[in-house]
């Protein structure tokens, strides 16, 4: 395990009496790409602003490299931020923008010039030194904002929905660029987004947040394949979330029918939720299925067909490369390891899950 670089300890924050973060704990390692993922208002941006020092927590501590930096102003922190709408200095040239932090650190002119050239090369904008920010496209401005931050050689780069204002194609290109830069620079990225696809593509670790609580921390694969609660399952990708009962270890009753599964330790006859991804629902001839239903909806999606199947009073979402026409009776099968069992949330707000990465 790599060295821990940042610790957020028992961080609470409220605005106008509204709780935004409630005793949040998060540990971030060196050279890790961590994504804070969640719907708007989940507290992810506030977490990032606390890290950057733009707002202080009501309670709790921020520890950076073993040192408590909770009270340290942003200009004294060894992290740099890429802001949501770039926040370039419109009255300065690109070169002046990039040199801003270096001049404060009283670097020599030749050092600064070298750095500007290096940074522009890194973001594929060689020769843009004397342009003004307003004359650049959104994607270019975004890359300048990144260049401006990384020339200061921060240990951590904070990125607040940096690709939110870009169109889809540009966004995908920038995702690869960011991964490349992270590998080239070897620094830690803390990335905030509400786009689950972006999070799954880029991250080493995803932190799913909702209503000020961390819902789950894990690798993209584990978050997608083993969501710990209904919120995560619903937020990451499409899924069938079905109330069920755990009869005993490795046996679950879904909509009154028994399915084999692989989970253990929930106890006997325990109410649970199960998550089944639409691509894991296998449609077969009625006789071969564990349960039977009727196709009620069909859309062609390119790589697959999306179908809805009415079975046992539930509308199953199914992705399949085989077409079953509307009205046809089908059988449904699910492999045991594709049934993910989750505890029912204890309250509506869903309790925080505090786990170390």
């Amino acid at each position: 395990m790599k060295k821990e670089l940042i610790q957020l300890i028992d961080i609470s924050k409220s605005f106008d009496g509204q709780m935004v973060l409630d005793e949040l704990n998060l540990h971030i390692h060196e050279n890790e790409f961590v994504t804070l993922l969640g719907p708007s208002g989940c507290g992810k941006t506030t977490t990032l602003r606390i890290l950057g020092g733009f707002t202080g927590p009501d309670k709790g501590r921020v520890v950076f490299d073993g040192q408590d930096i909770t009270q340290i102003p942003p200009n004294k922190r060894q992290l740099n931020t890429v802001f949501q709408k770039y926040a370039l200095f419109t009255h300065m040239t690109i070169a002046e923008n990039i040199a801003f932090g270096l001049k404060i650190r009283k670097k020599s002119k030749s050092y600064i010039d070298d750095k500007i050239r290096y940074a522009l090369k890194l973001v594929n904008l060689d020769g843009y030194e004397n342009r003004m920010p307003d004359s650049l496209s959104g994607g270019q401005q975004q890359r300048i904002a990144i260049a401006r931050a990384i020339v200061n050689e921060p240990k951590v780069l904070l990125l607040d929905e940096p690709l939110g204002a870009l169109d889809l194609k540009l966004r995908q290109e920038m995702q690869y660029e960011l991964i490349r830069m992270k590998n080239e620079l070897g620094i830690t990225f803390v990335y905030v987004t509400h786009d689950q696809e972006e999070a799954l593509t880029m991250s080493d670790t995803i932190v799913v947040m909702n209503q000020g609580y961390i819902q789950q921390i894990g690798s993209p694969e584990s978050i997608y394949n083993e969501p710990e609660n209904a919120f995560v399952a619903d937020f990451i990708g499409e899924s069938n979330i079905i109330p069920a009962t755990m009869i005993e270890d490795k046996l679950v009753s879904i909509l009154g029918t028994r399915f084999a599964c692989v989970d253990t330790g929930f106890g006997n006859n325990c109410p649970v939720d199960v998550v089944i991804r639409p691509e894991d629902v296998i449609l077969v001839e009625p006789s071969e299925g564990i349960i039977q239903g009727i196709v009620s909806h069909l859309i062609f999606k390119g790589v697959h067909y999306e179908m809805e199947v009415q079975a046992c009073g539930f509308e199953w979402l199914v992705h399949s490369t085989t077409l079953f026409p509307v009205g046809k009776e089908v059988g449904i099968r699910v492999d045991p390891f594709n049934i993910q069992i989750m505890n029912k949330p204890e309250s509506e707000d869903e309790e925080a899950v505090i786990i170390d990465i």
Partner: protein, 272 residues
């Protein structure tokens, strides 16, 4: 909304020509002719005569001081206001426009009551055992009157240009290592230049050309260039001389217009 509606601009273009361009032409005509209608530069060179030159010097000095005081008072205020909640925007503007609903002459006159030897302020100062103020009928009182009347015209453009600065731009500067002072000098101040230029114009020009404030608070002892021009028109009825002196004033106005055209291209520093 399309080009075929161009004729819609006709009323305004006609109005501008008749009531803005032509009248300025009239001043040029009167300023460059004498009573017989012959061409002359005498009305303009008259500014060099001892009395007129002094009036212009005093006006320039007092209006520069007033503009500076306005700027120093307004900038911190505008910064504080700009960082308040944006939904209060209209309310903030109202606070500074509301006093205009009390007549400008009366408001200025009220300063006599406040500043007089036995005025309100001196009563308060005596009560607090502080030394009393003796500024009524001095240039200081004129400056105060100018600052009082024109302060809103400095605050509002500054407020507007400062409120437009994205908080994250300021955060970005801090994030890159700038302390508060450096952030102010390199980021906030340069980005508010449109507001500064517009504010200076909106204060300096009226202060330079006023003819009432000096009469009300200066005790009529100091003659400003505005007083001189006003008298040429209303008392001596020498329109030619008055127009010539106005043309001298217009030099300063034109300089100001050019400055605002350069630094405030998009009207970002506008008052509203």
């Amino acid at each position: 909304m399309t080009s075929k509606n161009k004729w819609l601009s006709t009323p305004y273009i006609v109005w501008s020509v008749v009531f803005i361009i032509v009248p300025l032409g009239m001043i040029l005509y009167y300023g460059l002719t004498d009573a017989t209608g012959a061409f002359t530069l005498d009305n303009i060179t008259a500014i060099a005569s001892a009395g007129h030159a002094k009036a212009l010097r005093v006006s320039l000095f007092l209006s520069l001081v007033s503009t500076l005081v306005c700027f120093l008072l307004a900038y911190p205020l505008a910064m504080i206001l700009a960082r308040m909640q944006t939904k209060r925007h209209n309310f903030i503007i109202l606070i500074f426009i509301l006093p205009m609903w009390m007549n400008f002459l009366l408001r200025t006159l009220a300063w006599q009551t406040l500043l007089e030897k036995n005025g309100v302020i001196n009563h308060v100062l005596t009560f607090l055992h502080l030394p009393t103020l003796k500024i009524i009928n001095t240039p200081a009182a004129i400056v105060l009157g100018m600052v009082y009347n024109f302060l809103p015209f400095m605050v509002l453009p500054l407020y507007n240009s400062l409120a437009k600065i994205d908080v994250n731009v300021i955060n970005a500067a801090r994030d890159l290592g700038a302390n508060h002072f450096y952030t102010f000098i390199r980021i906030i101040l340069p980005l508010s230049v449109p507001g500064i230029i517009s504010g200076i114009t909106m204060v300096f020009i009226p202060a330079l050309t006023t003819f009432v404030i000096s009469a009300l608070l200066g005790g009529g002892k100091l003659l400003l260039i505005g007083d001189v021009i006003e008298q040429e028109f209303t008392r001596t009825s020498n329109w030619h001389l008055g127009s010539g002196l106005s043309m001298v004033l217009m030099i300063f106005i034109v300089i100001n217009m050019i400055l605002s055209a350069i630094f405030d291209k998009d009207g970002e520093g506008s008052m509203l």
